[in-house]
Symmetry: C2
Subunit: 144 residues, 2 copies
């Protein structure tokens, strides 16, 4: 297996402690993590927790290098996931519960992207399905 350090160096990034910590964290976690969540975990687990700003810059570097994916969630917070983790969720649609904020993987494949006007370049297409999950619906908790 390829080490986290070599993954970083192969992507042209120096293998610094902060980057090793964050990339390992993203690789071990299934759900996308926010900067705040990563910072909290770093304070708890890392022996020398990196600075807040360093974490922002690490996430920016990982994203720019293609090792992580950045997406803004419904509340307007940026969330990051490792490229491989993200890939595993590319072939199906997700359901976002407006009650509890939970994300559920559906079995349906994503729809085909539509035809674009001349000169337009497609980069990503996401089918965003929102509503109330079974548990929240039972409790009578509707959206937000």
């Amino acid at each position: 297996m390829e080490s986290i350090a070599s993954i970083l160096r192969n992507a042209g990034l120096k293998a610094t402690p902060a980057r090793l910590f964050v990339l390992r964290l993203l690789a071990e976690t299934t759900k996308p993590l926010s900067h705040a969540e990563i910072e909290a975990l770093a304070r708890k687990e890392a022996d020398a927790p990196p600075d807040r700003v360093t974490l922002y810059r690490v996430l920016e570097a990982l994203t720019a290098a293609g090792l992580a994916t950045k997406a803004v969630d419904r509340r307007g917070v940026a969330r990051f996931s490792a490229r491989d983790t993200h890939r595993r969720h590319e072939r199906h649609v997700h359901f976002h519960c407006l009650g509890c904020g939970g994300v559920f993987c559906l079995t349906a494949p994503p729809p085909k992207p539509p035809r674009l006007p001349k000169g337009f370049r497609l980069e990503a297409a996401e089918f965003d399905v929102k509503g109330t999950c079974a548990q929240c619906a039972a409790k009578g908790k509707s959206g937000a």
Copy 2:
């Protein structure tokens, strides 16, 4: 035609100056407006511009009452549109340019929502298509 004031009162909201201003603004504008944009317009056009916080609370009230729609854009900023305006764009897909932030209406109809697990309740399904628009592509400005 129904007055803005009666629309508010029919929705169970008091017809206050701030609400009248914001709802009229949203109704007259085609593109979704952010709080900052609304505040700037209020300072320019309203005789007694409402407080920043009041605008937040007005937008919250309009959304809760179903008179406005709230959506977080790519930069993590909340944007609001009048219910009717929003309805006009429900029957086709939109393209979001990562270069200039522009939104383009496509001709393709939205895909059918997928089957949900038992107990789940669908509220909205949005097909979010991102990339680079023709103008930005010509200028060589890729995504963010």
